[in-house]
C-alpha cells in the first residue's frame, strides 16, 4: 500500500488552508483529495463579495478568495488530486479513493484531516406535503446551476428559509431577471446576517414572512403553486392562515448539515449538537491521527473562520506527526445555558494547547448578556456581550494557564447581566 504523511479529504476553503499550514509547519508529504474538477469547493459558486476581510484585510468574491489559497498551495507544491472521490476511511487511517485514471486505490496516511464540508437539508428533511414536480431546489444547488453552469432555474421564485444562501439567492435571481415573490422563515427572526437582510431583500423590496412556512406544493410536471401558512410559537401551522403564491420555483435554504459519512464509517465519535465529529483542543477526533475542520466539523458563518480553524487543525496534525497525541485524559468543554454547541469540546488539563479559541452559537437572539466560562464553580472569565444572534458564530479564548491543572469540565454559558 502507498504511504502518505498527511492526507486532506476535501480541497475547499478548509482543505486548502490546512494544506498550506501543514507545509508551513514542515510537513512535506501532503496530499489533498478533491472530488470536483478544480479546487476551491463551495467558494467557486459564492460569487458575491464579503470574503476575506479577516484573512486578507480586503473584500473579495468567493472565487477570488479561493484563488488566493490555490496560488499559495501551488507555490508550496501541495499535491491536489482532482476528480477524485474518497469512498472509505478507516480508524487506522487507510484512505480509499477512486478516480477515472487510477481506479480504486488505498493509501496509508500517518495523519488524516477531514475537510469534507457540509450538505444542504433537502425537501425530504422537512415536512412539505404535495406532489413531486420539477422546480424545487436547495438554494445552493440553484446557486451552482446559475453561477458555475450558467443556467437559470426559474422565473417566479419563492424561497423557504432566511439563511444566508437563501437571501443571497433572492438577490441573485432578481438581478438575473426572475421575480422573487417572497421569503418565508419558520422562526420569528431571520437566520441570515443582518447585512444580507438589508442588501438582498430590502434593496429589492422582497417581502420576508417571519413565523411562516411552506406547507404544500402543487404542480404535476413543474411546480405551479405553493401554500404558505403562519405558525404559532411552537412552530405549528395556524389553521386558516393559508396563502397561495403562483410560482414555478421553490428554493430551500433550510439548514446545513456536516457531511460525515466517512467519519461515521471510521467509527469517529459524533457530537449530536453540531452533527460533526467531537474534537479536542488540537482538532483531533476520537480516532488517533484523524483531525476535522471546516463546515464538516461545524457549520461556520464566515469563510475567514473556516480558514483560520482549518489552520489550527493542521497545526494540531503537524504537532501530532512530530510528537504524537497529547498527554493525559481530556476534560469536556460543555455548552451551558442558551449555548447550542461548543467546538472544540475537549481539552487536556495536563497538556493544554497554548491558546484555544472555542467557537459557539447561541440558541436565540439576545441583547446585553454576559458570557461566563467556568470550570465547576470556578469562573475562568466573564465577558459582556451587547448583541447575540444564532446566525453569528461567537468565540471565547482560553489560554494555557486557564486550562492547566483543571479537574472539572469547562462550561460556556450565557447569563443575564445583573443590573
Amino acid at each position: 500500500m502507498k504511504k502518505v504523511q498527511a492526507i486532506i479529504i476535501g480541497g475547499g476553503s478548509a482543505g486548502l488552508s490546512a494544506a498550506v499550514t501543514l507545509k508551513k509547519n514542515g510537513i512535506e508529504d501532503v496530499l489533498v483529495i478533491e472530488k470536483d474538477e478544480e479546487p476551491g469547493g463551495i467558494l467557486e459558486q459564492c460569487i458575491h463579495n464579503g470574503f476575506g476581510l479577516q484573512t486578507f484585510q480586503e473584500q473579495l468574491s468567493g472565487p477570488a478568495y479561493a484563488e488566493r489559497f490555490v496560488r499559495m498551495a501551488e507555490e508550496l507544491n501541495v499535491r491536489i488530486l482532482l476528480n477524485t472521490t474518497v469512498t472509505k476511511l478507516t480508524a487506522d487511517r487507510v484512505v480509499e479513493y477512486v478516480n477515472s485514471e487510477e481506479g480504486a486505490v488505498q493509501v496509508q496516511a500517518d495523519a488524516v484531516i477531514l475537510a469534507v464540508g457540509c450538505y444542504e437539508r433537502p425537501r425530504g428533511g422537512i415536512n412539505i406535503t404535495g406532489t413531486r414536480p420539477a422546480g424545487i431546489y436547495t438554494a445552493g444547488q440553484a446557486q451552482r446551476y446559475l453561477n458555475i453552469d450558467g443556467y437559470m432555474v426559474g422565473k417566479r421564485v419563492f424561497i423557504l428559509g432566511s439563511g444566508d444562501i437563501g437571501l443571497i439567492m433572492a438577490r441573485r435571481m432578481t438581478l438575473e431577471g426572475a421575480k422573487v415573490i417572497g421569503v418565508a422563515e419558520l422562526m420569528p427572526y431571520s437566520n441570515g446576517l443582518p447585512r444580507n437582510m438589508k442588501q438582498c431583500l430590502e434593496d429589492f423590496d422582497i417581502p420576508l414572512y417571519l413565523s411562516h412556512t411552506v406547507s404544500k406544493v402543487f404542480g404535476k410536471d413543474r411546480l405551479e403553486k405553493i401554500e404558505m401558512v403562519a405558525v404559532d410559537e411552537n412552530r405549528n401551522p395556524i389553521a386558516g392562515s393559508e396563502q397561495y403564491f403562483d410560482v414555478d420555483t421553490l428554493l430551500l435554504s433550510v439548514g446545513l448539515i456536516p457531511e460525515n459519512h466517512l467519519a461515521d464509517h471510521a467509527g469517529i465519535r459524533m457530537d449530536p449538537s453540531t452533527k460533526g465529529p467531537v474534537v479536542d483542543d488540537r482538532y483531533m477526533t476520537s480516532e488517533e491521527g484523524i483531525f476535522a475542520c471546516g463546515n464538516g466539523l461545524h457549520v461556520h458563518d464566515l469563510v475567514d473562520y473556516v480558514s483560520l480553524q482549518a489552520a489550527r487543525a493542521a497545526e494540531g496534525a503537524a504537532a501530532y506527526l512530530r510528537n504524537g497525541s497529547p498527554k493525559g485524559t481530556p476534560l469536556c468543554i460543555k455548552n451551558g445555558n442558551q449555548v447550542s454547541y461548543c467546538v472544540p469540546s475537549q481539552f487536556y488539563p495536563e497538556d493544554p494547547a497554548e491558546k484555544l479559541t472555542v467557537y459557539f452559537r447561541v440558541r436565540t437572539p439576545m441583547d446585553n448578556q454576559q458570557l461566563v466560562i467556568r470550570s465547576g464553580d470556578k469562573v475562568i472569565r466573564t465577558l459582556k456581550k451587547r448583541k447575540l444572534l444564532p446566525s453569528v458564530m461567537e468565540e471565547a479564548v482560553l489560554l494555557k494557564k486557564d486550562m492547566e491543572g483543571l479537574t472539572e469540565d469547562i462550561t460556556v454559558e450565557i447569563t443575564e447581566v445583573a443590573s
Binding site: E37, Q59, A64, D149, P194
Partner: protein
C-alpha cells in the same frame, strides 16, 4: 434633526449604525467599527451604492460563465441597468483575475473585472462542458 438606524453592508460584521441627519446632510455617524461604516452611512442616506457581482458568458473556458465584480460601489438605482449591459458581454478564455471585462460601466467610472482566473478548456480534461 432626524435620526436613522442603518445596517452597514460593507462586511459580514453588519454594524448597526445610528445616523444624525440635518437638512439632508449627515452630521454624525455612530456604531461603526471602521471608516468604511462612516462612508457607507453618508452615501446610504443620500444615494445608496452597492458592489455588483454577477457572471458573464465565456467561450473556450472550463465553465460557461465567468464571475465578475465591480471594482467599487455603483449606485443602487443603476444596478439593473448595469445588469442589462453586462448580460450582453461575452469574453474568451483564458482570463486572469482582475482583468477588465467592461470599462467605466454606465459612465460611473467603475470597471467590471473578472472575479477569478479561468483557463482554456483543454481536451485532456475529463469533464465535458
Amino acid at each position: 434633526m432626524m435620526e436613522k438606524e442603518l445596517i452597514c453592508v460593507n462586511c459580514p460584521m453588519s454594524c448597526r449604525l445610528t445616523v444624525q441627519i440635518e437638512e439632508n446632510k449627515v452630521v454624525s455617524v455612530s456604531g461603526n467599527s471602521c471608516p468604511r461604516g462612516k462612508a457607507y452611512a453618508e452615501t446610504e442616506c443620500i444615494r445608496p451604492e452597492r458592489i455588483l457581482t454577477t457572471t458573464v458568458r465565456i467561450t473556450g473556458g472550463i465553465h460557461r460563465v465567468l464571475p465578475v465584480i465591480s471594482e467599487s460601489e455603483i449606485p443602487l438605482d443603476r444596478i439593473m441597468d448595469a445588469m442589462e449591459l453586462i448580460r450582453s458581454a461575452q469574453v474568451k478564455a483564458p482570463v486572469q483575475v482582475g482583468d477588465v471585462i467592461m470599462e467605466n460601466i454606465l459612465g460611473t467610472g467603475v470597471n467590471i473585472v473578472a472575479a477569478r482566473s479561468m483557463d482554456k478548456f483543454s481536451c485532456s480534461d475529463t469533464s465535458q462542458k
